[in-house]
Amino acid sequence: MDRVESLLKRPKAYGNIDGTGELGMGFMCLAFAPLIWLQLHTPKDSIWNQKYVLFIWVGLMVAMIYFGTRAIKNHITYPRTGFVAYRKQNRIWTAIVASVVSALSVVGLVLAAHSHRHIVMPVFFIGLFFAAGYVFGIARSGGVNALFRWKWVVVLAQVIGSLLIALLPEDLSAALAYGPSVPAGFSASSAGAFLLWLILYGTLLLISGAISFSLYLLHTQSPTEEANEPANADVQ
C-alpha cells in the first residue's frame, strides 16, 4: 500500500527533476535585488520608483522564467525522460498556496519592520520561513533519496546565511541601502538586510538549481529518435 502511495507522489517530484524550479526562484530573487537597489538609491520621483516600472520588471521576469523553463523542458527534459501534463486542479492549488505563502511572508516582513524590536531580525525569520519552504520541496522530491541529500547543505547555508545577515552591524547593512527613497516605516538597515538576503537566497537557489540540472544530465541518457515509440504495435 505504501508503495502505491509513493508512486502517486512521484509525478509531483518530476516537475523539478531538472532543477528548473530552483533556477526560476533564484533568478527571480536576483532580478528583484537590482530593482530594489535602484529604487532605494534614486530619488522618489525617478523612473525606477514609478509603479509601472515595477509591473514591467515583474512582467519581464515572469516571462523570462516561464519561457526559460519551457525551453529547458521542451528541448532537454521531455526528450530525455518524458513529457508530463499535470492535472489543472493540482496546478491551481499549487498557485494558490504559493501566492498565500508569499503574501504572508511579505505581510510578516512589513509588520515586523514596523515593530520596535531589533529591526534586522525579521530577515532571519523570513530566511527560516523560506528555508522551510525549500525543505518542503526536498521532501516532495524524495529527500531520503541519496540523489537529493546534498540539498540539506543548501538548507543549512540558507539558515546560517540568514542568521549572519541578521547579526550584521546595523550600520553595515544600512550602508547598502542608504539612499533618498527608503520606504516609510523601514530603516535603511532593514532594507539593506533584506537586499542582502535576496542576493544570498537567490544565489543559493541558482547554485542548487545548477547542481540539480547537472546531476539530471549526468544521470539521464540523451534521447534517440525512436526512444518515445513503443516497440509493440498493439499500442495504437
Binding site: 500500500m1 502505491v4 508512486l7 502517486l8 507522489k9 512521484r10 509525478p11 509531483k12 518530476y14 521531455y78 526528450p79 525522460t81 518524458g82 513529457f83 508530463v84 501534463a85 499535470y86 492535472r87 489543472k88 539521464t220 534521447p223 529518435e225 526512444a227 518515445n228 515509440e229 513503443p230 516497440a231 509493440n232 498493439d234 499500442v235 495504437q236
Partner: protein, 98 residues
C-alpha cells in the same frame, strides 16, 4: 473463506498486477504523459510496457493518443474516467484487505 481473503479475491485483477498497478498509479496523479515518461519511471522495457498498456487499453482504463512533438512521434497516455474509478475502488479494497 474469511473476509480478508474474500476482499483480496475481489480486487481488480487488471490493476492488481504489479507492473500495471505502477502504470495506473502514475497516471492517476497526472492528466497525461508520454510513453517515454512511463518507461523512465517504471524502468520497464518497451515491449513489457507496451503489453501492459495494451491490456489496460482493452479494459478501457487507459486512453492512447498518437501525436507528434514537432517532427518526433509521440504516444500520449491518460487514464480514462472508468480507469480512475477502478483505481479508486482498488485502493479502497486494498486498504480494507490490509
Amino acid at each position: 473463506m474469511n473476509r480478508q481473503t474474500q476482499t483480496f479475491n475481489e480486487l481488480d485483477r487488471v490493476i492488481h498486477e504489479p507492473g500495471r498497478l505502477m502504470i495506473v498509479a502514475l497516471l492517476f496523479a497526472i492528466d497525461q504523459c508520454d510513453f517515454l515518461y512511463l518507461q523512465h519511471e517504471t524502468e520497464m522495457n518497451k515491449g513489457t510496457l507496451s503489453s501492459h498498456l495494451s491490456r489496460l487499453e482493452e479494459a478501457g482504463y487507459v486512453e492512447v493518443e498518437k501525436t507528434y512533438r514537432g517532427k518526433v512521434p509521440q504516444t500520449l497516455l491518460s487514464l480514462t474516467a472508468s480507469g480512475r474509478e477502478a483505481f479508486q475502488r482498488y485502493r479502497k479494497k486494498l486498504k480494507k484487505a490490509l
